[in-house]
């Protein structure tokens, strides 16, 4: 089952990369319909409590093709790291063990896949939109303690609805700014020390440029 999942995710990765190339090729002939977003990301995981401290260690990248005046589709990937320090405590291990340590936890997420957006109001300077991203996510959970640490990697499915707006200071020009608020959920399962993660929710916002 795991081998099948790995192949499925590999296929998704290939599709995402191929889509990015198609978008790139389209850019040469239909330049105005292709646009890119690069954004800085603030993210906070809020389920599980493994590493739920808000952080700005992330970026988001998206390439979109305008199918119509309001609909666009494309590919995306983003990455983010969240940390959490847990003070010294005694943890039960199994039925007969106990471990006393402090921990520095780190959770790295790298989702990628396809994106779809719908512009709800079209204005020369301000274009609010709703969108959804779907694909696969690579995650790595690490717990550092003592002189070492343990980590666990996993793959999962990813989905993320979002709302935002593109702001164009100069009407009719390609360059603008984009702000986005999002929620995401991934099915990744990881386990380090005594802190298993079974599905990860996130919320955050992005501020970036569109061109």
């Amino acid at each position: 089952m795991k081998a099948i999942n790995n192949r499925l995710f590999a296929l998704l990765a290939v599709v995402a990369v191929a889509l990015a190339f198609v978008t790139d090729a389209a850019a040469q002939s239909r330049y105005d319909r292709v646009h890119f977003n690069i954004g800085w990301q603030m993210n906070s995981p809020f389920s599980g409590g493994f590493a739920d401290k808000l952080s700005g260690w992330g970026m988001a990248f998206e390439g979109d093709y305008d199918l119509t005046e309001r609909w666009s589709a494309g590919a995306f990937f983003n990455f983010h790291t969240n940390h959490k320090y847990v003070g010294r405590q005694t943890l039960p291990v199994g039925g007969t063990g106990a471990l006393t340590t402090d921990q520095q936890r780190s959770y790295f997420q790298l989702p990628f896949g396809v994106a779809g957006n719908y512009v709800v109001w079209d204005n020369a300077h301000f274009r609010p939109y709703v969108g959804v991203k779907a694909g696969a996510m690579y995650a790595k959970a690490t717990t550092y303690y003592g002189t070492g640490g343990v980590y666990d990697k996993s793959w999962g499915f990813y989905v993320s609805p979002e709302v935002g707006a593109a702001i164009y200071p100069a009407a009719g020009k390609r360059f603008g700014f984009r702000i986005t608020g999002y929620y995401s959920y991934a099915t990744n399962e990881t386990a380090t020390l005594t802190s298993p993660i079974d599905g990860q929710s996130n919320a955050g916002f992005r501020v970036g440029v569109i061109f």
């Binding site: 260690w57 005694t90 291990v93 471990l99 006393t100 003592g146 002189t147």
Partner: protein, 211 residues
Amino acid sequence: MKHYLIAGVALLVLSSCEKDPDLDALDTDYVVYTEFLDGVDFSRFQTYYLPDSILEPGQGRDATYWKDDYAQMLISEVSLLMDGRGFTRLAGEEGKETADLGLQMTYIAQTNQVTTGGLYYGWWDYGYWGPWWSSWYYPYAVTYSYDTGTLLLELVDLTKASDDGTARRLPVVWYANAQGYSFGNSRADAALLLRAIDQAFAQSPYVKHGN
């Protein structure tokens, strides 16, 4: 097209930007792990034998014994805690033969050598030297080392010895492992080991004679 290639390479580089947490936030106390044999009734043990030295395993079967003032301080602490739990320490060869429990103390000093090179996630934030640096790079191999110490406490059940003189395997009914950085300062290292011993007993309230 050239711009897209540059953007693509930039994306790949950025995708490796997993941010390491601040490991300096971890305290210097030893990580303490304890475990006991399921089902053992510690209240039935009354006496114990504790050697006046700490075993230091060497290469192969060679071993030395740590006996200086710092070693005596650690042994005294263990003895004090065992006595506080209602056990009686026996001394001499006769005591070793009649005690219910044997308590072994072992210290393992280790030097960990690390050789690294190439792309390297250093301790300094590369942003310190300006926002145009994306990561650290060593074009040659770099070697560094750090010292760690591990203290083991093992309680063995001597009441299981056979009367007919045939050899049997000693069951370890309680085990404590304290591990952390060694700072090369005997006084500081001993202070850390003392705290680790206290913690090992604190998280093992079941190790006691009587109710």
